[in-house]
């Protein structure tokens, strides 16, 4: 199979080189679109809400209290290993991810993560697998995701977000809860990912 793959490579590259001929010089790209902008937290809240995420603007000292209000007492919550423990209320059962299997993650009532970046203009939070965000599967299988975002992590638009992110990390961009519009374009939340997304926005 290795030998065949190499020959496929020669065939494809040979055909492509023949197709473009001798030219092959680059073409300049004019980037006169907006690349920076003022960060507008109200816009982020508006766009997140428009996507049917639920937004809570609270001081950091009351994160645990806010989370307690969102979850029934004795709910089971998965958390990535580096999540600040002060964010978690005593009313819930905490399952730290030390290599939990998928079945246990899927059976949990929710997950709490931090974020790497949030994009105001599009209502997007981005997770990059840092210790306070954890593996990609954590924010995928439970039906409820609580994501804590600091104001300093919010950027105006997509270009600023990419500039802050590291391509070599696994990245998940989340804009509202899981959704489909495949049946008569009627929007339905939660096909496979979490049906409920809470964003706690800290000052």
């Amino acid at each position: 199979m290795v030998v065949e793959a190499v020959s496929g490579r020669d065939v494809v590259l040979g055909r492509l080189r023949a197709a473009i001929g001798e030219s092959g010089a680059g073409i300049p790209v004019l980037r006169d679109y907006r690349r920076e902008g003022a960060v507008d937290l109200d816009l982020l809240v508006d766009r997140l809400t428009d996507y049917r995420a639920r937004v809570h603007r609270v001081p950091e000292t009351t994160v645990a209290e806010t989370i307690a209000d969102l979850l029934p007492a004795s709910a089971t919550v998965v958390v990535p290993p580096g999540l600040p423990s002060a964010w978690l209320p005593a009313t819930v059962t905490v399952l730290p991810d030390d290599g939990l299997d998928n079945a246990r993650i899927a059976a949990a009532d929710g997950v709490v993560t931090a974020a790497a970046v949030a994009v105001a203009e599009t209502g997007t939070v981005v997770l990059d697998g840092s210790p306070d965000q954890g593996r990609r599967v954590l924010s995928l299988l439970p039906d409820l995701h609580i994501c804590v975002v600091r104001a300093a992590q919010v950027v105006a638009g997509v270009p600023a977000a990419l500039a802050r992110l590291t391509p070599h990390r696994p990245l998940t961009w989340i804009s509202g809860p899981s959704a489909t519009s495949d049946i008569e374009l009627h929007r339905v939340e939660g096909v496979h990912g979490p049906r409920t997304l809470h964003v706690i926005l800290l000052p």
Binding site: M1, E4, A5, G8, R9, V12, L13, R15, L16, A18, A19, I20, G24, A25, G26, I27, P28, V29, L30, Y33, R34, R47, N102, A106, V119, E121, T122, G123, G129, R135, R136, V137, L140, G157, V158, P159, L162, A163, P167, H168, R169, P170, L171, T172, W173, S175, G176, S178, A179, T180, S181, D182, I183, E184, L185, H186, V188, V191, H192, G193
Partner: protein, 469 residues
């Protein structure tokens, strides 16, 4: 060197010419109602979110320029992708055509020992007929996008790039689920939320127990080796995250040079495509990440006729396409015929220019004529593909109907000879007196007027009026 997509494999050629297939679709009022509702809804959503972006035209121009740049130095960028993906722990394969790509994927799946794969919606794998190839090797492919699942369970074909089941309404979807979804609740209603929940229940166990996934890719960044998939439902995240092995099949034109280039396309694609500011989920990965996600990653780089498209300096801009489907949603022809009439996985205006180039014009000769040349597709295209120009360019290459060629040759000769031209005008006026005005031409020229009005000849020609002055 024949570099077009091979016959007998994949889904780029229809069983019949566009006019025949279109005639049948036009006779289905139910289909036309579903399509009209869907395309009008997406058009309105898309227009609203594009209007929010003050620099939309600058983004379109940048997107178009980046794609031109990519095509001008594609071999070098692909080699860069290969080296970055390999350095990050992935394995890169090169497939000259559909047959080779199917064989590579089938062998990779077989090597894992699994007899089932979960699939993310992907145009490239539909194009090459991967599902059929896997099935003939005893491997079950499970489509996990809701619309693709509806199409798969209904033993149907997709009819739209973005919303493959756009031609089905909720009642039809309920019937398909009851008939073909194992374990479907007989009390299932046709509410979209109930149908989506049924799909969630049906697929969850499959997601959790299948060790191999196959996806496409929206973008691959040459500079970093990063792959990106945009989606809405989370089925993509399931496939890209849970299995041990991930196989991504990607057309060679999907590469972008730099990480920064994603800032252009991640703004253009969702707004043009689904009419959202951002799609609910975008996943990006570079090779493998220890402890997170698939630990084996294979990237299959697919030609399958793309080098033939690239060789045509006018036609190559069809490879700019980012599969947003905006051109379908504004096309008056697509809105009435639906996607099946185009006979290819790429329907609508982009299909009418891409499919004939991928297969060679002779195999899809009717498609460049499947358009009114109204230009709405060019205006809607987020990467500024001049589809009307391409249609005319391809019509020139397509074999013309004999009667049309004869008539055009006769018209050219007549117009070159003033006396003949004057006589022809007088003859046309007698046609007016015979009561044929506004109708069609007689056979064999009626092919021309079957879908066009013949202009009514004036009572007096300009030349006659002038000679009297």
């Amino acid at each position: 060197m024949p570099a077009t997509a091979p016959q007998g494999v994949g889904q780029l050629r229809g069983a019949e010419p566009f006019p025949d297939a279109a005639r049948r679709a036009l006779a289905d009022p139910h289909l036309r109602r579903n399509l009209r509702h869907a395309t009008a809804t997406i058009r309105a959503k898309s227009a609203a979110v594009i209007a929010e972006v003050p620099d939309w035209e600058q983004l379109r121009a940048a997107g178009s320029a980046i794609k031109s740049d990519v095509l001008a130095r594609l071999p070098e960028l692909l080699e860069q992708v290969e080296s970055r993906v390999t350095a990050a722990g992935g394995v890169v394969h090169w497939a000259a055509d559909a047959t080779e790509a199917n064989r590579i994927v089938t062998e990779l799946v077989a090597a894992t020992g699994s007899d089932r794969v979960i699939k993310v919606k992907s145009m490239a794998t539909q194009e090459i007929g991967l599902n059929e190839a896997l099935e003939s090797a005893g491997i079950t492919p499970v489509e996990t996008d809701l619309a693709e699942l509806i199409v798969q369970l209904g033993e149907d074909r997709p009819s739209h790039i973005l919303v493959p089941a756009i031609h089905r309404n909720r009642a039809e979807i309920r019937e398909i689920f009851l008939r073909a979804m194992p374990g479907a609740d007989p009390a299932l209603t046709d509410e979209p939320v109930v149908l989506a929940a049924a799909a969630r229940r049906y697929l969850r166990q499959t997601f959790l127990t299948t060790p191999v996934a196959v996806s496409g890719a929206n973008f691959a960044v040459a500079e970093t080796g990063t792959l990106a998939v945009v989606e809405s439902e989370g089925n993509g995240r399931m496939c890209l995250t849970l299995p041990e092995t991930l196989i991504t099949v990607m057309g060679v034109e999907k590469v972008v040079p730099t990480w920064r280039d994603l800032e252009v396309f991640l703004q253009l694609l969702p707004r043009a495509s689904t009419g959202e500011r951002m799609n609910p989920y975008t996943s990006m990965w570079t090779g493998v990440t220890p402890g997170d996600g698939p630990q084996a990653f294979h990237l299959v780089l697919l030609d399958n006729g793309r080098s033939a498209v690239l060789a045509d300096e006018v036609g190559r801009q069809a490879l700019h396409c980012i599969r947003c489907s905006a051109c379908l949603n504004v096309c008056p022809v697509y809105e009435r015929t639906g996607g099946h009439a185009y006979g290819s996985v790429y329907p609508g205006p982009i299909g009418a220019v891409l499919s004939p180039q991928l297969t060679g014009i002779a195999d899809n000769a009717s498609l460049p004529y499947a358009s009114t040349l109204c230009g709405a597709c060019y205006d809607a295209c987020p990467v500024k593909i001049n589809i009307p120009d391409l249609l005319v360019h391809l019509r020139d290459q397509a074999p013309h109907p004999r009667a049309e060629a004869t008539a055009m040759a006769a018209a050219a000769y007549t117009m070159d000879h003033p006396a003949l031209y004057a006589a022809a005008q007088r003859a046309a006026r007698s046609g007016r007196l015979l009561g044929r005005r506004g109708r069609g031409l007689p056979p064999p020229l009626d092919g021309w007027t079957a879908s066009r009005d013949l202009p009514e000849p004036p009572a007096e020609s300009f030349r006659e009026w002038w000679s009297k002055r």
